[in-house]
Symmetry: none
Subunit: 217 residues, 4 copies
DNA sequence: GATGAATGAGTGTTCATTCAT
DNA sequence: GATGAATGAACACTCATTCAT
């Protein structure tokens, strides 16, 4: 999952939470991220998550979260928060859109090297969402908004003459899919050099978006 | 899932099957493909598949298949068979590697337009395999072999001077990931013009692989 | 199961059977004996028996037998028939009751050495009968009759002064239980010398029944 | 099943258990003992056990026990514990091996009179173990160890001149088989006087093992 | 007679969730 | 707040039996 440029998160339920409840929730979310990264979205049962979190029963999770979907929403929110903190400064350090795109791609895979479980969990949860899932609809829309922002960046790059002519939605999804694929590969083969893969992908999409190759003909 | 160049498959058990049993198996596999495409690999229970196939009980599926893994193997084999029949002549109609790559990408998405459930089920099953799954190991290896063949094609294209310098494994996985992403998108948003997306992706990876930009420098 | 001195068998159902049907039945019974000896009474499913018999479906068994109990009755009857043919002349070759008892014990274990599956299946089926099983009640009573005959032999030996004073029912059941135990042991450890065990058991029960030890004091 | 001289047991899983969980486990084990004694090992389904224990679903049993084997292990452990408590002082009250053997036989059947289901369940579970059952292997070995101890007692009795010459393994298995047979008979015919049977069996094996017959010659 | 596909009840097990304590 | 026992539905799978052909 390509991360960065998040629009920020907010809890689904609006009621105020005490400090310890917030702490418990964070603890459970952290355990969920590890478990999801390890065994996948579907096999990440409450029991496994509770064990990883050092809890003695799954009831604790149901107590703190309004169902499995709520927990998963928090997992995604936490992963996105981490990604946002990591990515935003690296992207905004650049002016030109092409440089920002490269920073985005390489940054995602540097992030993967540092937080492999976060990105793996993120990809797992989002990859297992269905369009029809009620309760996750608003969620999916939030994801679309983030993607739309990134697409808009591509479009601006085109208008600025940095990028050639292409469908920015198709390009953006291809970039995200390629990054997610490395995330999945890193999960199964921990020895993969994800930073090197990041540079390769950045080169790849640089060529794919660059205006120079067309103008030079 | 990018398909094509399948190595073919046959049932593990050697016992001869009657025509009607073969028919029932095919019917169940077809139902499984539809259900998997609709609700995903994990949620595709025998009960849903049996209902879709017009069977009164899940026992019938266990009667015809040697467990869930066996059914899933047949699902993949069937999807690969369809893909192979569709893709192979389209790819082999071209001489040059660049043209073959374009044919492969566009062909996959034309195939998606005609058999959306087949490709969706294929991606679902393969995407949910874990390294540790015993009984599916040989299966994963078979997929790797196909991917390796496609990587080899890219490498030959580089040697022939048609492609620029890039890591063929990274490129191949990026291509496959981009195609699979369209498959997933088409599943959730049936109105997507997948053939147009195919042309866009073909253009994208044509630029990303083309040797022209280097010669013009 | 101690065998011998059978009162003979008769089919439960009274209708006449054709020659081929009788052949099929015998074939199935033979397969059932092997399967039961190998995997036990409860795990001996129609499917395993059909496979062993070279039949392509379990329906064949249900066609020829009026349910599982009917098949099991035939299994016992066949095993008892074999045992009776083998045991009767060996026992009747002796005049004295003590010699007949020894012939009975050693004969049973010689029989075990020659037909291990028959005796194992016999013990399995009889050992898994419950008192309450309807449809098997008449059957159990038949077994009791055989045992009663053997008890009567012991009693006659006592009256003849060959045996000391003991409860013949308890003695008979102990003998049978000891023999059955060797049958079970031979099933799990095929290297056991069952004939040697037979001689040991014959000695054991010779001492336990002998009138000499008491008179000699 | 002849019991006594148990080596003791404790749960495989090391997790500490609350009092109520321990209570529930004991309740389920007690229900399992009753059901197994009534319908046998194989027919003792979780559903029947749950109903007997007053539970609404079989899931509760899976919650408290790590599978069917785990429950069966506890059943045997409980039966052996009861047997050990009952038998040990009765056996150790005697010095001589012959007296100990008599105490062992009569004690087992007195125990049967008091805990008929415990011994019936014990015999059922152990009698249905196959050599190939993984997870129960260590279990079978434990039973062999107990039997070996009892065999050793017989051997010592022979060396002490109390017993005549016989194969102690064959003798021990015959004794155990005779006791188990009474257990089974008591299960099907509750009116049997098991204590009387115990005295008869003790007399029987006293004669079978006694050294007096040899000295008088 | 013989076949084998179909049936439906039953198996142990996992799961997210609930609720009395 | 926190616990963990209890719940009931769902899961894949096996089984003996039935029945149209």
């Amino acid at each position: 999952m390509q991360a960065g440029n998040s629009t920020g998160k907010q809890r689904a339920g609006g009621r105020a939470k005490s400090f310890t409840e917030t702490g418990r929730r964070a603890q459970i979310v952290a355990a969920a991220i590890d478990v999801i990264a390890e065994v996948g979205y579907q096999r990440a049962s409450f029991m496994k998550i509770a064990q990883r979190a050092g809890l003695s029963s799954t009831g604790m999770i149901s107590y703190h979260f309004d169902g499995r979907d709520d927990l998963m929403r928090e997992v995604v929110a936490e992963a996105m928060r981490v990604a946002d903190v990591y990515m935003r400064p690296r992207i905004e350090a650049h002016e030109r859109y092409a440089a920002r795109l490269r920073a985005s791609i390489e940054g995602n895979l540097d992030l993967l090297a540092e937080y492999p479980n976060h990105l793996a969990a993120l990809a797992e949860v989002l990859g297992n969402l269905r369009g029809g899932d009620p309760g996750m609809v608003a969620f999916t829309q939030g994801m679309e908004a983030i993607l739309a922002f990134q697409v808009e960046q591509l479009r601006k790059g085109q208008q600025a003459g940095e990028f050639c002519d292409f469908d920015p939605w198709v390009m953006m999804r291809a970039i995200r899919a390629a990054i997610d694929d490395v995330v999945r590969r890193a999960r199964d083969e921990p020895d993969v050099d994800v930073r090197a893969a990041g540079r390769e992908l950045a080169d790849l999409f640089d060529r794919a978006t660059s205006a120079t190759s067309t103008t030079s003909r």
